[in-house]
Subunit: 345 residues, 4 copies
């Protein structure tokens, strides 16, 4: 396993570096060697793990989302959810892990739907002046890089902590689980699991969603262990997917299988960042297969992250962990926030 | 000097801690002992420094803003300005300075002018659902915590790099010096200069603006040295000012004297954060006395920062330096970004 | 009575015309002769009418708003309310009443809260182009001239037709009684009742709200009879009120007494236009004293109308009736519409 | 000619009425008999007219838009343009033409891009309340029914009156030729020219744009004469076009040929309303072939009008003239206004 890992990383770095040098379309270049296959890596998995390498049954999935909920885990009025797992020590350790000072933005370019300019002339004969702009947008959806607050979604059993959305949410906004719960910033250890790099394919396809056990495999291949309070980035190759002419969105779509929810809960992940989302369709009748980590586990979601540059950087740095910083705007009663998270190596 | 500093800091910490314990209005409680006066500290200043302890002449001020401009310092097409001073090593050192993992938000609560909710029912009989919100706002001005991009202001000589705003800015936004220049985040060493703490008064008053030499005195009293690439926070007590019934804004206002611009340039500050802004009126006919650091020096501005909690934290931690993180949204052609900067100790 | 009326109108016209000529502040000039007093006019009222000349009791008011509701009057699913009273014949008669072709706008200048410009260059070397603007606004309130749809308000008994607002209104808008019910336009006979002109005072004051019986008196003085389907404009002198330094809005305010609701119902008014609104406080514990005509009688409301120019025109034309046109935007699910109604003489 | 007209109208009415009765898709049903062909009608045209029945040359077109401009026709500072042709007498005549009181909305359903709801509870235990909504939109474009102000477009020679858009328009809006010039309403005689009805085809196609001489033919067939100050509605069958699966918009599109501009100028039309716009491409290199009536002739434009119901009504009423009312919002510095114009028969 150790040697596999080393070989894997060295190849990744070599390919990643070459990619940068040889192509202007660096964002969509594969950063992993295709000679490192799932078969190679998973060859070392134990029998126990192999047993889990199957699609879960409906009762199993429902059990994950009912019996294993984190409601009341940090007190029944808690609004921070799994972000509670990010302790001061956890933040210190994240800062202490910095080695090169290299920073990578995880945000796509943000084009507010309303973006308007107002110029103001002032002073010396109108030659001094300033310009302000108006931004107006719905950031939720499948375009803008943003963080979902715990109040953003719910199912038949309610929103985070089992609260009733018809009471907690009105036309003034969310009165429980809003984005200000995380106003002190989400600063923790970040880990990237690079699915295209691992698979040796440019992007995840609709017919082969990412399963929880594959995340285990990738972590093992990358030599990283998920720890409580981590910010988990799952790269699925959305940039390459779109560049290939596909549209990410409405109907069926590639992404993460509901079994990833178990992975997230098993490892006590605090924040999930992804470029693709939960795969559709799902066979369990769940309205929000992986998005359900939000209201069931209290896990923050970073939607529409830009992860290709991070994959390149991880390969070049030969490290799949980094200091993760996401600083959501302190919007009163807000259901989330656009964000420009940064990974620092 | 050393003993003065120690006594100053110990007292500050004691008062700061007491303030937290004794008052629910902690935001506006003095965190400095009034027994540490400017006289005590400045008694140790040299003759040279005393010479500078006077209001500058018009030619001096104009010289600061013409001869000492940073245009072309990092290349004539550079759009990052003084943020270039924040090198990977500078970021690494900031991360390495973290000792407790304590985080403090520097953002005021953000209430977008347009904040609207849309609920969507989905799945199982309408009992599953989600909520999204629309944010619409002009963040520039004197309310929202935000970062000004270099394109935000200009004077008779032009905007950053001497560019012509009538060419670089149109109704689509800014085509030079926009906020995306800083998309990799502004992560550096932060330093707080706490004027109310130093003066032993709750807030800066209109009749006594903050001068550059006073910033030198405060830094000395706090035992910090400003270094190139630092993010400088100047706390003027705006919260206490407003709590006392004053309105910060339109006409005359307390704040920083143009002589602070010299301080900023002398120390190669990369980002200036403040709760008050440049004092009005100014005697030099300048349209933007301290705001001029933007287009003359390429210094990022963090307007309307919330600095009282930071002052409390600095006093409690007995440290006036910290890791500073501001991650502006990656808004294409944007003239700035609302932000929730974080200080981590 | 006939001679009183004639004298009244002649004086009004004379004064009105003089006012136009002698003052640039024409909007706030009295258009009525102060020598025509309430006493003169009401001297001719009958004993019966005098009995009604008193403040109603609580049970009386509640009876107006329960027993005399128009719910189901035009069918229990009807969404047009009293606008049904405007028949094709009514519209024809309104058109037939036009004598001079003079038009008067009843709209205040509209400054959308968000009003932004985007210029687009095109064609021949950028010298051809166009400009578009973005308007964003909440028009309800006390500033923008607008029409309230029947869904806009409700009380403990429900909204128009007794419907339940928690069912009919969600974050997508109103699904019953929305503004599209009136998409074919509100075109009918208009009548102006000019209170300042009648009282010989520049504006209605807080201590003397307009009562229903005063509206009867004014109609009589002006020589107009209210008829079913009419658009009733009640001018209270808001322009002069504000020009005198008063603020119309938050707390107590001058305007119409709840007894005007009875007047509106007695005469089967289809639309009520006003510059002031319902007087505050009211002694009946009603949430919406006169605004209640909306959900109880199905009467359209034209809020914040500009009525001073109309008062001038009526005086000059010696006619207090005109063709009234209000064409609300056809906003799907909208709770109302900004409007620029026109009176044509 | 007289007999042709009579037969044409009778058939139209018969077909139109039948269409209403037999189809729920009434909007897109042909209202004209296909047996009335262009050949039948134009058979009676004179030799002179036949000479004009050809595509104009480039110099001719340019001559229309330079030599025949209306700049300074109503004074060099005039901002009302051809709306000046609508005199009080013209309005009186329009009102006098009303015969049935039937009204038809010319507006498509309006869905503001931003349409948000805010509910407010008040009074009696939260059971009384109100709801307001926010509308935000750019109404220019090819969707919303709206009126273009004279400032909306320009070419190399400038905007209306030859003014310079770089001076008259800034980020605050338009300072000349804005929509408030028409705040007294556009109330005049309206005329519908129904191209699909005339052609016996459901909609105008890209390969056969509407020419000016065809408008002459249609007017003759319908028995209407265009007169100065008229509001001209040209129906091209956009609803049927879209229902057939076509998209109206970006590239090539059916609509009016530049030769219609001559028709408009010849007849001193005050307002042009249409459902399709100017056909693309045009062979003259004009940036705005028919839209140019705006800045050259001062003609108001009503874009994206809903004209199918009007065509039905005209056929049923056997009248192609009506009272036209468009009441643009009084938006300060606005470049236009959404509108719900009404035709009254």
């Amino acid at each position: 396993m150790a040697s596999t890992r080393r070989r894997f990383l060295l190849k990744a770095a070599a390919i990643g570096g070459a990619a940068i040098g040889s192509s202007t379309k660096w964002k969509f270049t594969r950063t992993y060697s295709s000679t490192v296959t799932a078969a190679e890596v998973t060859g070392s998995t134990s029998a126990l793990q192999n047993q889990e390498r199957r699609v879960p049954t409906q009762p199993e999935v429902e059990e994950w989302y009912t019996d294993r909920r984190n409601w009341a885990r940090w007190g029944s009025d808690d609004q921070r959810g799994a972000i509670n797992l990010i302790t001061p020590d956890k933040r210190m350790a994240a800062a202490a892990s910095v080695r090169s000072g290299r920073t990578v933005s995880l945000s796509r370019v943000f084009e507010p739907t309303q973006q308007f300019i107002r110029k103001n002339d002032r002073g010396r004969g109108g030659q001094a002046g300033s310009v302000v702009d108006y931004y107006g947008f719905i950031y939720h959806g499948q375009t803008v890089t943003h963080i979902d607050a715990l109040c953003h979604m719910w199912d038949v059993d309610g929103m985070w902590q089992g609260r009733d959305p018809s009471i907690e949410i009105d036309t003034q906004g969310a009165h429980f689980g809003d984005i200000t719960a995380w106003s002190d910033g989400i600063i923790t250890r970040g880990v990237l699991l690079d699915v295209p790099g691992y698979r040796g394919e440019p992007f995840v396809t609709t017919d082969r969603p990412v399963h929880g056990w594959e995340l285990e495999d990738i972590a093992r291949a990358e030599g990283v262990d998920l720890q409580p309070g981590d910010a988990l980035m799952v790269h699925s190759g959305r940039g390459a997917f779109e560049q290939a002419g596909n549209t990410f969105g409405g109907g069926d779509r590639p992404g993460l299988h509901v079994s990833c929810a178990k992975f997230i809960r098993d490892h006590d992940v605090a924040l999930l960042g992804w470029d693709m989302m939960d795969a559709r369709p799902n066979d369990y009748g769940l309205p929000f297969p992986v998005h359900g980590v939000l209201f069931n586990y209290g896990v923050a979601l970073l939607d529409n992250a830009l992860l290709e540059p991070l994959a390149v950087a991880c390969a070049e740095e030969s490290r799949y962990e980094f200091m993760f910083m996401a600083l959501p705007l302190k919007v009163a009663r807000g259901t989330g926030s656009p964000a420009n998270p940064i990974a620092m190596f």
